[in-house]
């Protein structure tokens, strides 16, 4: 009887709230999110079944794109390259990242504080600059490392060559090792140290504990991290475009780009590649999320705040410290130095005393005189700020809907918002291009289409930041506001949003940064009027203006670095733990 009463009461309440104006706001958010995440995807799928429309013959339905792609030897080479590249890069970054995480969390390695500085690097160095820097370091003809070694040993042997599959893996792998480091540190930290301690107490040796306990328990986290890194690498565009395309090592992303930039451009073929790539990334992410649930089953959080014992590495700690330093040099030191060096040279040349005479700020002046530079800077700033604001606001409402209401089908909403996570930037760019070319409306070729692309791309990030902080928020805080007589809007504005503020700010900062660096969607959607900074970098590279690219890159990194520092200082005041 009591249960019945309760049920009828709650259905009353829902019936009443169903007509509240709050549903206006919620409904609008739903429509926007569904539009962003689903419509372009539908167009992409549709396009993959169409023949290329030429001036007089309209596009027609066809299976031919798929038939052509899946019967072609070229595709299997492409698939092989893509998988090998992604797996190799992911394995390398996982190996480095796990070693760093373990040394940092469980041993007394020196220079520990350095590692956190390193983890910011992939954030502040745009991908294209990192790859460009490594070309200047290790290309067979102009690579500084090659030339220096050749001079030292008096040979013309090529020591390093980034224009190879292993070279691509190397550059991508070391660039993303900090991501692996963060993932594995979190995994190690969530592992109850007493699981290892009790094995030692049982009489097991260090080696037995590592093999039978630590590694087994960390396996779900390792596998899940590998898949995340794998998907990240298979989506990466800058690396295959800069390193693979010149020597004909093609992967999916670079082939999509080539199909679009061939004449006549083959949108159908590009879409088919894109759909294939989507299937791979979706599979990876799906598998990863299943492993992650298995991982949480293993993660037992201990009641005590005991820090795990840090292992004394003895003399090995110097080797471990050296590993830290070498890695820091590879990921920050050398790339940054080579960029600074080349930015100061009017014509690119290898570091030498003679070249030191030619140091000048000419390139900085030249870049600042670049005709579109003002527009590009302005566009980048406006786009990143508006993307971050719009995404965080939108996903705050969506996260609330998913976590706080009992609307049937809210899990669908959760998945729709997270859908762009499996979509590589290039695929999002392609889908949006197809969609707004077909729909018309004059959006194509303006900054608006870039805004739409960025919002789509970064929706999942906003959702993650918002739902993580909403989960920590006790539901009773809202309920007591409602009991005090506040309506939904007032509760949301006065209670939920202020309490979400740390997460909102952290997510906002993150999205600002990734929006400024965004290239792989922008490269398909920009027009001369809607240039952004990352596209300017891309064009400088295409034109072979390496020295000016370096100058712009150095300025951009400095600006991003200052922004990150300022954001962290500002964020600390608002209780934001990390950016």
């Amino acid at each position: 009887m009591a249960a019945l009463d309760h049920a009828s009461q709650s259905s009353h309440r829902e019936a009443r709230t169903a007509f509240d104006p709050q549903w206006g706001i919620i409904g609008l958010c739903l429509v926007v999110v569904a539009w962003l995440a689903l419509v372009p995807l539908a167009f992409l799928l549709w396009q993959s079944f169409l023949t290329p429309g030429v001036a007089d013959t309209p596009a027609a339905f066809t299976w031919l794109n798929y038939a052509k792609v899946y019967t072609s030897v070229e595709t299997f080479r492409l698939l092989g390259n893509s998988l090998a590249f992604a797996a190799g890069a992911a394995a390398l970054s996982l190996a480095i990242g796990t070693a760093l995480a373990w040394m940092n969390e469980r041993t007394n390695t020196p220079f520990k504080s350095l590692i956190y500085a390193l983890s910011v690097v992939p954030l502040v160095i745009p991908g294209i600059l990192f790859v460009a820097a490594w070309i200047m370091l290790a290309s067979p003809k102009i690579g500084v490392l090659n030339l220096l070694l050749q001079r030292a040993f008096g040979t013309d042997r090529v020591f390093f060559d980034v224009y190879t599959l292993p070279g691509m893996m190397w550059v991508d792998g070391i660039q993303h090792a900090p991501v692996a480091f963060l993932l594995m540190s979190a995994a190690l930290r969530s592992m109850d140290p007493s699981l290892e301690e009790s094995a030692l107490m049982s009489g097991a040796s260090m080696f037995q504990v590592a093999r039978r306990i630590t590694l087994k328990l960390a396996f779900p986290a390792l596998a899940a991290s590998f898949l995340i890194l794998f998907v990240r690498s298979i989506e990466s565009f800058e690396n295959p475009a800069l390193l693979g395309l010149p020597v004909g090592i093609q992967v999916f992303t670079s082939s999509i780009y080539e199909a679009l930039h061939a004449y006549p451009s083959d949108v159908g073929l590009a879409s088919t590649y894109a759909i294939t790539l989507l299937v791979i990334t979706s599979g990876g992410i799906f598998w990863q999320s299943r492993l992650a649930t298995q991982g949480t089953r293993y993660a037992t959080v201990s009641g005590k705040a005991f820090r795990p014992r840090t292992m004394d590495l003895g003399r090995w700690r110097y080797a471990a410290g050296a590993f830290f330093l070498v890695y820091a040099a590879l990921v920050i030191g050398l790339p940054f130095l080579v960029l600074v060096w080349s930015s100061l040279q009017r014509f690119y040349s290898v570091p030498s005393l003679a070249a030191l005479q030619n140091v000048s700020l000419y390139n900085y002046a030249a870049v600042l005189d670049y005709p579109n530079i003002g527009t590009a800077v302005w566009n980048s700033i406006v786009l990143s700020l508006s993307t971050a604001t719009a995404v965080m606001a939108l996903t705050a409402v969506i996260a609330w809907l998913v976590l706080r209401t009992r609307i049937p089908g809210r899990w669908i909403l959760d998945n729709v918002v997270s859908l762009p996570m499996v979509m590589p930037g290039l695929v999002i760019g392609l889908a949006i291009m197809i969609c707004y070319l077909a729909l018309g409306g004059g959006i194509y070729g303006t900054v608006w289409i870039l805004l739409i692309a960025y919002m789509t791309r970064f929706l999942p990030y906003g959702m993650r930041f918002n739902s993580a902080s909403l989960l920590q928020l006790h539901k009773e805080l809202e309920e007591s506001a409602a009991l005090s007589g506040a309506d939904w809007l007032t509760t949301f504005r006065r209670v939920v949003l202020p309490l979400l503020k740390p997460g909102l700010i952290a997510g906002w900062i993150y999205i600002v940064i990734v929006s400024i660096r965004e290239l792989s969607s922008s490269v398909l959607l920009y027009s001369p009027d809607s240039q952004v900074l990352s596209v300017v970098l891309w064009e400088l590279w295409q034109n072979g203006q390496y020295v000016q690219l370096s100058a712009l890159g150095v300025m951009m990194m400095a600006a991003l670095f200052v922004f990150v520092l300022a954001a962290q200082a500002f964020g600390r005041r608002f209780g934001v733990r990390d950016v």
Partner: protein, 367 residues
Amino acid sequence: MLSVRALNTEYRTGRGATLRAARDLAFEVEKGKFFTLLGPSGCGKTTTLRSIAGLERPLSGEIAVNGRVVYSSERNIFVALNKRNFGMVFQSYAIWPHMTVFENAAFPLEVRGSLARKAVRDKVMAVLSAVALEDLAEREATKLSGGQQQRLALARAIVMEPELLLLDEPLSNLDAKLRERMRFELKRLQRELGLTTIYVTHDQAEALALSHEIAVMNEGRIVQIGSPRTIYERPRDRFVAEFIGNSNFLDGVVAGADNRAGFWRVRAKVRELVAFSDAPLQQGAPVTLSIRPENVELSEIAPEGEANVFAGTVDSKVFQGDFVDFQVAAGGIVLLARAHPSLRTPVGDAIHVRIDPEKCVVLPGPA
């Protein structure tokens, strides 16, 4: 059996700060005894246990088990924890989630590798049946309830027949009912197997129920060591009296010795009371009287010919089911008394108080 001498330890907080924990700690535990380190959080009891286990390296001191020195700062000895052969139950149980119940319990025997498969199996099954888990041997460890995980952790700790069993608040993650039942289980098992056991807890009821001997710790030092009864009935200072159970504290001044040995007349605010003290007292010295609520005897009719009797009024009372708590106002003080629920004196009525001199304990210094 276990002897700890001049042990000094430190504690690293989550934020990397280092705090001193145990200070010049010393105690001996006899073979087969259940010894409890009891104290509030931060008193150094867990670091002491972890130092015995070998999970922490103390700053200085010496730890020996059965004459074997496992740690000595002077002689620079530190036996690795996996060579000490101690069993330990962690607060979080630390059951390995990727193994079955059997595999968890068999692990300590397997890593030693000295026993044949059959022998391992027999031993593990014997120990699992001792904790009533033999029917769940093939179950995944994560599928166990809290109480079962706790018993499995215990089985794993004792399967290798350790010289010493170390228990780090093993009951604190269980709900109240289960915790009480596990107390009996643990006590029975320990007494049957005769395992020398070191137990760490902040729960005084657990300590009283389980131990042969309790060491009460505060701020890194042992304040009092004794049997549960001694600790409860004869607390040495106010900290012990307050930490273990409830107590009324009355200010008083020593008026002189009473006619029986160990008994003293103490002038308190309410009246002169006869109280007990182990140590000799100085006349005129300020002292504190500690009286447990259950030793404040209440009656509606004045008891005759008894010591320590005075009158008061019922200030308030709280019915608790198996007993009633009375607040009795008398001579400007309020005493807490725990009485049988059959006493139904209404609030505001007069009531008579009697305190057995033996249960009225003198503590040094003013309250």
